[in-house]
Symmetry: C2
Subunit: 278 residues, 2 copies
């Protein structure tokens, strides 16, 4: 039997890529298809709980690369409810063995971007000790600016780095999603500046034309993003961790999941730098 | 009769706000509704030509604040065709008496953002002497990053300023559209840096939720953008020119145009700084 290529060792598939597939079926397909890691979403656990999801991961020989998601420090829910929910998310990440909890930080509200960023900073400050206690690293994910008013007031990698730099804490980093950041004229420099902060990498492509703000993402290679350049630049900063493919798209969702897994694995073998995980 | 408020003297309505209305009807409604200026689109002239459009503007006592649009230095059409079309756009702006030709610079292509920006720079360099000859100022309009692959590789005001600064030419400036730039964490600083470069201002609001990348824009006040702050900041840089309301939205398009004109005028009276045009 030939050794597993390093690319496979770093590949993770995000559960949102199979959002309409039962979680158990998704895990089966990943395991059977030679994928070693997945990124679960909290509302789609096998058995509805982190404990039962962890058991399913173990049974399939899979590990959790990260957990989606915590955050929403701004928005409509009360701050104490957000804080409680985020503490629970940290505990679930620990239970799943997921080293990373991805933070979708919450939208700009009518009070304005600056007020939102302040609320996000306070929310992280409050959550960080709980993350430390559970050995979970929080990852601030900058979102595409088109989602600023619905998902995240953090819209550029540079802004995420500034936020994280102010804490300068080993349990707080950034998640770089190619789909969210590719358009940034300064992205290669920002990736370089993120050198000691990048703790998670997500991959999706930007389709042309794009007609849906939430579920219009493309499989790697189907869009306009120079994924090879972005991943190589990340590699040059020393990033050697997991690379999660996260493609929200109804056409992908309606494709048999074993075909999606095989397709993703093939596409990523040509894209992923050869370095093994550190 | 009371003097016309300064806000009215600076208000212009972009023809795209009435995209499905006949051009003649749009001009009639603007004139009857107390609006002094409009921003025509090249494919929607009264009579199909700049000459006939100019006559219609004159008959209604209206002036053209700018012309939409030139540009598309990148994309699918051959470079010589783009150059020819852009020279024609400059001539049409002059014929209309429009001091400004708005440039939608053209998308990122598979060759990547840097190649696109180079092509845009060359296109502007080639067009500028023609603009000088016709007393028309070219305005580089940064577009929202969600349109990077379909409309414009220039996606931040800062990027537009850098492009324009490199020419440092009195016939080349930037157009600031609130809809395209509001999300930028650095926007207030960028507006300040644009001090000597801003030659056009467009206004639309960002609706929550937004479900359409092209025609999901909101009337001023209906969305999440702090338009008052952006317009005040522009005013503080010394900008005292026209402010064009440009709202592409099927609901606005299906509203009787005289109602839209009255509504826009009322909304902008509460938003526009009081300073008269310079």
């Amino acid at each position: 039997m030939s050794p597993t290529p390093a690319a496979d060792a770093r590949l993770s598939i995000n559960q949102a890529t199979a959002q309409t597939t039962a979680a158990e079926t998704f895990l089966e397909a990943c395991a059977a298809g030679g994928v070693r890691a997945v990124a679960p979403w909290r509302h789609q656990y096998v058995g509805g709980q982190a404990r039962t999801m962890r058991r399913a991961l173990d049974q399939h020989g899979l590990r959790a690369s990260s957990l989606c998601r915590g955050g929403f420090f701004t928005g409509t829910r009360p701050a104490d409810e957000a804080a409680r929910d985020n503490r629970a998310a940290v505990e679930e990440a620990a239970e799943l063995g997921a080293p990373i909890l991805v933070l979708v930080c919450g939208p700009v509200t009518p009070a304005g971007p600056a007020v939102a960023v302040d609320a996000i900073r306070r929310g992280i400050e409050e959550l960080l000790p709980h993350a430390v206690e559970h050995d979970v690293t929080l990852a601030v994910e900058p979102f595409h600016p088109m989602l600023a008013a619905e998902r995240s007031a953090i819209v550029t990698l540079d802004q995420a780095i500034s936020l994280v730099d102010a804490f300068d804490h080993p349990r707080l980093g950034v998640a770089v999603d190619t789909y969210h950041v590719w358009w940034d004229p300064d992205i290669l420099n920002a990736i370089d500046r993120s050198r000691h902060r990048t703790v998670a990498v997500h991959v999706a492509d930007w389709l042309v034309p794009t007609t849906d703000l939430l579920a219009g993402r493309g499989l790697p290679g189907d869009g306009i993003v120079d994924l090879s350049q972005l991943l190589r630049t990340l590699e040059e900063t020393g990033y050697d961790g997991d690379v999660e493919v996260e493609v929200m798209n109804p056409i992908v969702w309606s494709t048999p999941v074993d075909e999606v897994v095989a397709d993703v694995r093939t596409r990523m073998r040509t894209l992923l730098p050869v370095q093994a995980p550190g």
